[in-house]
Amino acid sequence: MTAPIYEVEGLVIDLYTPSVSVRAVDVAGFHVAPGETLAIVGESGSGKTVMTLGPLGLLPEGVAVDLRGTARADGKDILSMSPADLSRLRGGFFGVIFQDPMSALNPMLKIGPQLARQAQLYAGLSAEEARKEAVSLLARSGIPDPEDRYGRYPHELSGGMLQRAMIALALAARPRVLIADEPTTALDATVQAQILALIRQIQKEDGIAVILITHDIGAVSVLADRVAVLYAGQVAEEGSAVDVLTAPVHPYTRGLLASVPDFRSDHATGTREIPGIPPSQTQLEPGCRFADRCDLVQSSCRTHRPPLVRLGAGPVPHRVACPVVIAAEGIVTHD
C-alpha cells in the first residue's frame, strides 16, 4: 500500500466561545494516500470539516481553539510549522473546494487572473505560462469558451460554472491533496452529477489524493475508495467504501444508511429513522457517543469508550468502534 500523504492521528480539537466550549473532535484520525479518495462522512456538527481542515489552521473564525494530536503532510509535522510555512503548504500542497464558490473566489477580481496568480505563486510559472495554464484549467474543468470566461467576474457565471471555476482555482497550484468540503450540496441534481464526474476524472488523471467531506451518501458511493464515518467527533467506522456502504457494522452507520432510500431497488427500501438527535458535545460523557440513540445499548457503553477494532482479513482495514455488535453477531476480528 502507498504511504499516506496526509495523515492525522489522535486529534483533539476543543472550540471555545465566551459562553460555551465544544469538543468538536475527540481523539480521531484519518489518512489518505496518493491516488486514493477518502470520504469523511457525518452529519452537521459531527466534526468532519473541523477534523480535516483544523490541522491546516482553517477553522471557524471568532472561536478560541485548542488542538492536540499529530498531523503530517508528506511526512512533515504540520502542527509545529511556522505560520508562514503552513500558509505555503495550504496554498500549494493542499487544494480546497468549498461548498460555496463565492467563499473561495474574490468577487472583485476577474476569474482568470485569480487562477493565474495561484499558478504563478505556487506552481512557479511565469506570468505568460500562468495565463495559459489558467485558460487550460478552465477548459479542463469543463467551462465552455474558457478564453472568454478568463475575463469574466464571478457574478457573471452560473452556480455550476462557478463550482467548476473554484475547482480550477484549487488545481491551479497543482496540489497533491484535494479537499472537497461538501462540493455538491448547493447544486442541482444534474449539475451535482457533472461535478462528481469532474472530480473523479481529475483524480484519475493526476493521481492526487482526494478527501471528500460530505453527508451525501450518494456522492460517497460515486467517488470514495475508503470511508470514515464520524459521529460526534469520533470515528465510528472506517473501511473500504464497499465494506462500509454495503456491509456496515456500527449501529450508527447502519442507521444512517437505512435512512437513505435507494429508488433503484425494486421494493421500498424504507426510510428507517434513527430516533433522537446527536449529543451536544458540550458535556463530555465517558463511553460511546451514540449510546443514547442506539438500539443495542448496554450499561458498559455508557462508561467505556469503545475502541476501533479491525474486522476480518480484507486488504483494506475495516474498523468498527462497537464491541457490542461485534460480540452479538459473532463477527470475526482481525488479530
Binding site: G160, A189, R264, E273
Partner: protein, 328 residues
C-alpha cells in the same frame, strides 16, 4: 355538495406567475396545469429555477398569479380566500422550508401552537391547551418543549412544531415547500415518516415540493416534474420512477447516485451538458431542447404539449406518446 366530494383537492389551469425584474421578465411559472387528487401525496420536483416553489406558493395565494386559475376542493381559490379568509385557512395550510423563519422568535412553542386556535376562536383556554397537547402528540414532541423558544430547538424539532401548527386547525390540504432540505439525513427520515403517518392517519392531501427524488419515490403517490416553469412530466410515482418518459426526467433520475458503490462503479450515467437556461429567456420550442441529447429539429421550433405516455401519466415531449418514448 356532492361536487366537492369528487372535486380534486387542487386543480390549477393555465397558471402563470411572471416577475418583473430589473434584468427583464422572469417567467417563473409559465402555463402549468396541475391536478392533485384528494388524499394524494403529491411530489413536485425539479431543479432550482424550475418554478416549483413559486408554483406551490401560487397555489395557496402567497404569490400573486399573473394568469390562470386555481381551484381548491372545488372552489375558486381567490374567491374563497376573499369571501371567507378564515374558512380557507382552516382548509388549506402551508409549511415553509425554513421553520425558524416562519415562526416568531419570541413566542414559545405553546404560544405558537395555540395562536391559530385563538384566532379562529376554537374552544376555551382548557380546550385549546388540550388541543395543543394533542398536536404535540401527533408530531411526537414531548410536552417539555411547550415553554421553549424556536431558537433553542433542533432543526428536526422546529420542523415538527411547524407541522403541528399547520395541523392545528385540522386542514384537509397541506402544501409544503422543501420541508426536508434543511435537515440532516437521519432526522430527515424521521420527518418523512411523520408526513407519511399523518397522511394515513388524518386522510390529508399533501403536496410536497422536494428535490430529493429517492424520498419522493418512497412516500409520494403522484409526482410532477417541472423544467423552466413548465410541467415536463407527471404520473403515478411508482410507475413514473420505473419508466420515465421525458428525456429530462431520465437524466434527472440518472443523476441521483445509488448508495451502493458496486452499482455506481458500473452504472451507465447520463450527464447533461451545461446548466438549465434562465427562466428570463426560455429557449424556443421545447424548453429542454438546448440540453436534450435526443432533440430533433422540430423540438427547437414547436413547444410540445403534455400527452399520455406508456406509464399512464403524461409528458411534454415530441418523442413520446402512449406507446413509446425516447430513451437517452
Amino acid at each position: 355538495m356532492t361536487d366537492a366530494i369528487v372535486a380534486p383537492a387542487i386543480k390549477a389551469t393555465g397558471l402563470k406567475v411572471h416577475f418583473q425584474t430589473a434584468a427583464g421578465l422572469v417567467r417563473a411559472v409559465d402555463g402549468v396545469d396541475l391536478t392533485v387528487a384528494q388524499g394524494a401525496f403529491h411530489g413536485i420536483v425539479g431543479e432550482s429555477g424550475c418554478g416549483k416553489t413559486t408554483l406551490a406558493r401560487a397555489l395557496i395565494g402567497l404569490q400573486p398569479v399573473t394568469d390562470g386559475q386555481v381551484n381548491i376542493l372545488g372552489r375558486d381559490r381567490a374567491e374563497w380566500a376573499r369571501a371567507d379568509r378564515k374558512g380557507f385557512a382552516r382548509a388549506v395550510q402551508f409549511i415553509f422550508q425554513d421553520p425558524l423563519g416562519s415562526m416568531s422568535r419570541r413566542q414559545t412553542v405553546g404560544q405558537t401552537l395555540e395562536e391559530p386556535l385563538m384566532i379562529h376562536g376554537t374552544g376555551d383556554g382548557k380546550a385549546r391547551r388540550a388541543r395543543v397537547a394533542e398536536l404535540l402528540d401527533l408530531v411526537a414532541l414531548p410536552d417539555t418543549v411547550l415553554d421553549r423558544l424556536p431558537r433553542s430547538l433542533s432543526g428536526g424539532q422546529r420542523q415538527r412544531v411547524s407541522i403541528a401548527r399547520a395541523l392545528a386547525l385540522s386542514p384537509q390540504v397541506l402544501i409544503c415547500d422543501e420541508p426536508l432540505s434543511a435537515l440532516d439525513v437521519s432526522v430527515r427520515a424521521q420527518i418523512v415518516n411523520l408526513f407519511a403517518r399523518l397522511q394515513a392517519q388524518l386522510g390529508l392531501t399533501i403536496v410536497i415540493v422536494a428535490h430529493d427524488l429517492a424520498i419522493v419515490r418512497e412516500v409520494c403517490s403522484a409526482v410532477t416534474v417541472m423544467y423552466l416553469g413548465r410541467v415536463a412530466e407527471e404520473g403515478a410515482a411508482r410507475r413514473f420512477f420505473a419508466d420515465p418518459a421525458h428525456p429530462y426526467s431520465q437524466a434527472l433520475l440518472s443523476a441521483v447516485p445509488s448508495p451502493d458503490p458496486r452499482i455506481e462503479a458500473t452504472r451507465p450515467r447520463i450527464l447533461l451538458e451545461g446548466d438549465p437556461p434562465s427562466p428570463r429567456n426560455p429557449p424556443p420550442g421545447c424548453r429542454f431542447s438546448t440540453r436534450c441529447p435526443v432533440a430533433e429539429p422540430r423540438c427547437r421550433e414547436m413547444e410540445p404539449a403534455l400527452r399520455a405516455v406508456p406509464h399512464g401519466g403524461a409528458a411534454a415531449c415530441h418523442l413520446a406518446d402512449a406507446s413509446i418514448h425516447a430513451m437517452i
